[in-house]
Amino acid sequence: MKKIYTLFAMLLVAVCVLSCEKEISFNGEESASRLTVSALAQAGEPLSAYVSSSVFFLKSRGFESFIKALDVSQGSVRLTINGAAAPIRMRLASDQPDGSLLYNCDYVPQPGDHLVLEAEFPGFDPVRAETDVPYPPHFEVSSLAFREEDGGETLDLTLRFRDDGSYEKYYFLIPRMEIRYGEEEPFQMTYRYASDDVVFKNMGVGAFDLYGMLFGDNDVVSYYFSDELIRGKEHTMKIEIPGIRHLEEGQRFFVEMRTVTESLYWFDVSYAQLESDFALFSEGVTLYSNVQNGYGVFCATAGTCVEVHF
C-alpha cells in the first residue's frame, strides 16, 4: 500500500511540475494608442475634463505612461455649446492629478444644453464626444415612517415624482446624511436601501443582491433606474433604509435624485462589472465609451435634493 501512495505522490508531483504556467510572447497585432477623454457635465457646476492616452499593455509603466506621449503645447481641448460657431478652448489646470491632464473652463452647464467635447493632440486621432445636459427631476417625499426590524430601526420613505416623458432618461437615487461636528466642514454619509419597486427590477440590477448581502458590498449600480416603465407618468415608490435613527444635533438628512444620461449609467454599470470579484465566472467586460476615435466617456447629470426632517 505504501508503494501505491508513493507512486501516487510521484505522479501528482510530475503533473504539477510538467503542467505549467509560462510567459508567452504576444502574437497578435499591437492596437494603436488612442486619446482618452472623460468629463461629467453637472448642471450648476463648472465643467472639467480629464485627458490621457491609452497605453498598449506591454508598454504600460505606471501613471506616467498615460500622459508621456501627449504634447501639451500642441494639444487642445475644446467645448462647443449648443452648436456655437466658436468653441471654448479649455485650459490646463494648475493642480494636475496622476495619470491624466485636467482641463477646466468657466462654462457652467445648464439643463437643456447640448455639448460637444473635442480633443486633438499630435500623433493621435482627434476625438469627439457629445452629451445633453438633462433637466433635474421633480419629486417630493410624501411620507415617512419608522419600524422595528431585526432588532434595529428601518425608515420607510415614500417618494412621489412625475417623469416628464420628454425623452428616455435614467435616474439615480441616493439618501445621504450630512454630519457636521463643530466648526468643521460637514461630511456626507450615504445609505444603502432596498426597494421592491418595479423600476429597479426592470434594470436587471435589483436593489437586493446576493453579493452585497454576503460581502457587504455597496453596489452603486443598484441605485439607478430608468424611465422605461414610467415615462410621462406620475410614480410613487417606496424605499426602505435600514439602520437609521432619529436625527441628532448637527445632522441633516437628504434624499437626492438625479437625472443622468444613458452614457453615465452605462459607464458606471460597466465599471462596476469590470471590478467585480466574480470576474472569474463572468464574460469579459468592455468599459463603456461614447468617445469617437478614442476612449472614455462624456456624460451629464442634474440633481434635485430634498431635505427630510424627522
Binding site: L11, E21, K22, G28, K59, F66, G99, F281, T286, L287
Partner: protein
C-alpha cells in the same frame, strides 16, 4: 392562426404519404427481418441489404430491423456489415417474406477485403450527408487521456466538430454551441454529458454499440437542436452466453457484464465505473490538514452506471428498458479548533444525470415497423455549504448554510413509424411529446446567530421559480428514389412549444438530394431548418456544473437555424472520401451580457442574457478507412463562426460582430490504428488547430472610477484594462500527438486480456488552456503535459 398552422402541417404530411403510395398499387412484395451478430445475437445497426439484380437496397434501423419492397420475381440478396462475412442468397420472391440473418464476424475483413455493399446511407449511394458513423472498435483504439476511452473525444476528431479548450468534452459543431447538440443515449436526451468539468464524457465506451453523428441536414425525425445529433446506442447484451470485462486504469476501475436471462429471449447488459483518485489521495489530504492543526477530508470522484434489459416476445415484438445514472461529487469536511472555539465546515457539490427509457418495437405485417418510447431524463446540480461556529462546549453559537440548486426534468413519449410502401419509397413518420420542468437556479441562505444571548435568524430563498413547458412535434420524411441516379430525402417537421401561456410554432423543412455520377462518385446537397427551445447558459470555456439549462420563455424565443450544404463523395477502394461545404445562419441565440455571471445577484437569468444572431461557414474534408489492418481517418476543416448582438436592449460588444470563442480557422485530425497481429495493435492521433478566441484587454486607459455620488462628480482617474471587443485575441495554436499500444493475450478458455499503454501529448507540447494578462506580461496556463497511462482489461 394555430388552426391554419396545423392545416398546413397536415397538408404537407399528407402530400408525402400520397406521393409515397403512388407506386404502391403495382404488384410488389416485401422482404423484412432483423440482422444480428451470429456470435452474440446483438442487433446490427446500419447493416446493408442489396438486391444485386435491381440495385435496390436498404439498411437496418437502430433496432437491426430492415424492410425492402421489390417487384415479385428472381432476387439475389447480399447482406453485409463492416467486419462481418457477407451472406448471399438467390431465390424467387413471390410473396412477402421474413428473413432474419445472423452475420458471422469475418477474418477476411480484418485482412483488408473491400466492402462496398455495407456502405450505408452515409456513403456515396445514400441521400444523407453531413453524417458520420464511427465504428466503436475504432473508438476503443483511439489513444485516450489517462487511458480513459471516450466517445466524445473521438467524435471531436471528426471534421466539422471543434473541441473547445484542452481536454474538454464539449462539442462545437459547425459554429454551434455545446448546447445545440442533441446527445441521445438509446434515444433519450442527456443534458450534461460531462464528468470532471468536461475532461471526460458520461458515455462509458464499454456499454456502447453504435455511434452516429449528424452534423446538419438532419432527417425530419430529428429535431429540437440546431447543430447536431449524436445518436449513441447501447449494447443489448449477448443472448447466447455470459460475457464480461473488468478493467483498472490510472483514473478509474470499471466492469461490464452481459448475457441471457432467458436464452435468445431476454438479455441484459450492465456497465459501471468509478474514479478512485479521491480514495488514494485521502491520506495525503488528511496529512495536509493535520499539518495545519486541523482535521479534514475531502475529494472528488465520478461514477456512472449503464444498464439495459431486452426482451423478445416474438419476431414481431421486442421490449427494451435502458437506464443510466451518473454523478460527479466534490466533498470536503473540515474541523478547526483552538482552545476556546471550534468551527465545522461541510461542503458538498453534486451534479449528474438520471436517464431511463422503455421502448417497444412492433412489426405490423412486413412493411410497417413502429417504435414506441417513454423516456425520462433529469439533470440536477446542487451546492451545499454548511458552516458552524462553537464557543467552548456548547451548541453552535452561529451557523451559516447556503444552497444553490438547479434542475431540469423531462418526461416524454414518442411513436416512430417506418413504412416501405414501394421499391422507390422509404417513409418515416411519427410524433413526440415532451414535458419539461426547469428549475434554473434557486439560492437558499440560512443564517443564525446566538452570540451574547441574542438570537438572530435570517432565512432567504430567492431565484427562479419552477417553469413547466411542453414541446410537441410531428414529422414525415420520404427517402424517394426518383431514378437510379437521383434520390431525394424530403421531410417536414412541425413543432409546437408552449410556455407561460405563449405558444411558439415552427415548420422545419428538410431536403436532401443525391446525384449518383457513377458507382463510386456522387454529389449531395441539402437544406434544413431547425429550432431549439432549451438553452445552456455558460460563461466559461470549460464545462461547469453551474452552467444553467433554461427554457425559452414568453420573453426569450426559441432559437432557429437554417443550413445549406453541398458536397462530393467518392469511394476510392476501401477509402471513403468526401468534401462538404456549408453555410449556417442562426437566430435568437443567447449569450450572457457583458459581466453577467451565474452568481452575484438575485436577478433571474432572463435579465442576464442578450439575444442575437450568428453565422458560420466552412469546408470539410474527410478520408475514412473502416476496414483492413489499417483503419482511421484524416479530417480537415476550414471554418469561420461569428456572433452579433445588435438589437436594442440586447447589445453585446456595442453591437459589433465578434468571433465565437470556439471559432477556429484550421482544424486537422489524423487518426490511425494498425493491427500487426491478433496480439498486438498500435494507434496514433495527431491534431492541429488554430487557437481559440478569448477576450484580452490589450489597452490600459486612465479613467475616473465612476460617479462619486457623495461629491457629485467623477472620481480621480485610475488605470483600468480596456477590452476593445469580445473574443478579440487568438490563443496560440493547439497541437498534440497521442500514441497507444494494445497487447492482447488469448486463453484457451476463450477469455483474453488486454494491456493498453498510451501516451497523451507525446512531445509534451504546452497547449494553451488559458491565456491572461499579468501586469505587463502575457501568461499561458497549460494543463495536460505528456501523460503516460496504462490499463489492464480482462475479458471473460
Amino acid at each position: 392562426m394555430k388552426g391554419r398552422f396545423f392545416l398546413r402541417v397536415a397538408a404537407g404530411i399528407a402530400a408525402i404519404l400520397v406521393l409515397s403510395a403512388g407506386n404502391a398499387a403495382a404488384q410488389k412484395v416485401t422482404v423484412s427481418g432483423y440482422m444480428t451478430d451470429a456470435a452474440s445475437g446483438e442487433s446490427l445497426i446500419s447493416a446493408a441489404l442489396v438486391e444485386r439484380l435491381s440495385g435496390q437496397g436498404t439498411v437496418t434501423n437502430n433496432y437491426g430491423y430492415y424492410t425492402l419492397t421489390l417487384p415479385a420475381g428472381n432476387v439475389s440478396f447480399e447482406y453485409s456489415y463492416v467486419g462481418y462475412e457477407p451472406v448471399n442468397m438467390s431465390f424467387r420472391l413471390t410473396r412477402d417474406t421474413v428473413i432474419h440473418v445472423a452475420l458471422q464476424p469475418s477474418a477476411e475483413m480484418l485482412a483488408g477485403a473491400s466492402v462496398t455493399a455495407s456502405r450505408s446511407e452515409t456513403g456515396v449511394r445514400g441521400t444523407q450527408m453531413s453524417t458520420i458513423e464511427v465504428p466503436v472498435r475504432q473508438i476503443l483504439r483511439v489513444p485516450a487521456l489517462a487511458g480513459e476511452v471516450d466517445v466524445i473525444k473521438a467524435i471531436q476528431l471528426l471534421p466539422g466538430v471543434q473541441s473547445g479548450t484542452e481536454g474538454s468534452a464539449g462539442l462545437y459543431v459547425r459554429g454551434g454551441g455545446p448546447d445545440e447538440n442533441l446527445l441521445l443515449l438509446d434515444g433519450v436526451p442527456i443534458y450534461n454529458v460531462n464528468h470532471m468539468m468536461g475532461f471526460f464524457s458520461v458515455f462509458n465506451a464499454d456499454a456502447i454499440k453504435n455511434v452516429t453523428l449528424y452534423k446538419g441536414s438532419f432527417p425530419a425525425r430529428f429535431g429540437s437542436r440546431l447543430s447536431s445529433i449524436l445518436d449513441i446506442r447501447m449494447k443489448d447484451g449477448n443472448d447466447q452466453e455470459f460475457h464480461g470485462s473488468a478493467s483498472v486504469g490510472l483514473l478509474s476501475a470499471k466492469f461490464n457484464l452481459e448475457g441471457p436471462i432467458v436464452r435468445e429471449k431476454t438479455t441484459f447488459n450492465i456497465s459501471a465505473r468509478r474514479t478512485y483518485y479521491d480514495i488514494l489521495a485521502q491520506p495525503l489530504i488528511a496529512w495536509a490538514y493535520k499539518d495545519a492543526g486541523e482535521r479534514g477530508m475531502g475529494g472528488y470522484y465520478f461514477y456512472d452506471v449503464n444498464a439495459k434489459l431486452t426482451h423478445r416476445f416474438s419476431n414481431q415484438d421486442k421490449l427494451y428498458v435502458s437506464y443510466y445514472m451518473g454523478d460527479d461529487q466534490v466533498y470536503t469536511r473540515v474541523r478547526m479548533h483552538d482552545n476556546d472555539t471550534k468551527d465545522h465546515m461541510k461542503l458538498g457539490w453534486y451534479w449528474g444525470n438520471i436517464v431511463g427509457s422503455v421502448r417497444w418495437n412492433h412489426v405490423f405485417g412486413s412493411r410497417l415497423f413502429v417504435n414506441t418510447t417513454v423516456n425520462y431524463t433529469q439533470y440536477r446540480h446542487k451546492l451545499d455549504l454548511d458552516v458552524q461556529h462553537y464557543e467552548k462546549e456548547s451548541d453552535p453559537t452561529s451557523s451559516y448554510a447556503m444552497g444553490y440548486n438547479s434542475l431540469i426534468n423531462d418526461i416524454s413519449a414518442a411513436a416512430d413509424f417506418e413504412f416501405n410502401p414501394s421499391p422507390r419509397h422509404d417513409v418515416r413518420f411519427g410524433g413526440t411529446f415532451i414535458r419539461h420542468t426547469f428549475k434554473p437556479s434557486v439560492n437558499t441562505i440560512h443564517y443564525e446567530d446566538r452570540t451574547g444571548g441574542m438570537k438572530m435568524v435570517q432565512d432567504t430563498t430567492f431565484g427562479d421559480k419552477n417553469l413547466f413547458t411542453s414541446e410537441a412535434a410531428v414529422y414525415a420524411e420520404d427517402n424517394w428514389t426518383l431514378a437510379g441516379w437521383l434520390k431525394v430525402n424530403a421531410g417536414l417537421r412541425a413543432s409546437l412549444y408552449a410556455v407561460e401561456g405563449r405558444t411558439y410554432t415552427s415548420l422545419e423543412p428538410r431536403l436532401g438530394m443525391r446525384l449518383l455520377f457513377s458507382g463510386h462518385l456522387s454529389m449531395k446537397a441539402s437544406y434544413s431548418e431547425m429550432s431549439q427551445s432549451v438553452h445552456l447558459l455558460s460563461n466559461s470555456n470549460i464545462s461547469m456544473p453551474t452552467d444553467l439549462w433554461v427554457p425559452s420563455t414568453d420573453r426569450i424565443e426559441p432559437m432557429r437555424a437554417r443550413q445549406v450544404a453541398a458536397g462530393l463523395f467518392y469511394e476510392m477502394g476501401p477509402v471513403d472520401l468526401s468534401v462538404e461545404g456549408y453555410w449556417k445562419g442562426m437566430d435568437k441565440l443567447l449569450e450572457y451580457r457583458d459581466g453577467a455571471s451565474f452568481l452575484g445577484s438575485s436577478t433571474g437569468w432572463e435579465e442576464k442574457v442578450a439575444v442575437g444572431r450568428g453565422w458560420a461557414y466552412g469546408v470539410e474534408f474527410l478520408a475514412q478507412k473502416k476496414t483492413g489492418r489499417l483503419t482511421g481517418w484524416i479530417g480537415y476543416t476550414w471554418s469561420r463562426t461569428m456572433r452579433q448582438f445588435d438589437q436594442e436592449g440586447n447589445v453585446i460588444n456595442f453591437g459589433r460582430p465578434f468571433p465565437a470563442k470556439y471559432d477556429r480557422r484550421h482544424d486537422l485530425s489524423i487518426v490511425a490504428s494498425y493491427e500487426f497481429s491478433k496480439k498486438f495493435d498500435v494507434s496514433a492521433t495527431f491534431v492541429y488547430g488554430t487557437g481559440l478566441c478569448g477576450s484580452l484587454a490589450l489597452q490600459t486607459i486612465c479613467v475616473p472610477q465612476g460617479y462619486n455620488f457623495t461629491a457629485g462628480s467623477f472620481t480621480q482617474p485610475y488605470p483600468v484594462d480596456y477590452l476593445e471587443s469580445r473574443n478579440n485575441y487568438r490563443l496560440p495554436s493547439y497541437q498534440r500527438l497521442d500514441l497507444g499500444m494494445n497487447f492482447h493475450r488469448f486463453f484457451r478458455s476463450g477469455r483474453h486480456r488486454t494491456i493498453n499503454v498510451s501516451v497523451y501529448n507525446v512531445y509534451n507540447r504546452n497547449n494553451p488552456f488559458l491565456v491572461y494578462r499579468d501586469g505587463q506580461s502575457l501568461k499561458q496556463l497549460s494543463i495536460f503535459p505528456i501523460m503516460p497511462s496504462v490499463s489492464y482489461t480482462f475479458f471473460f
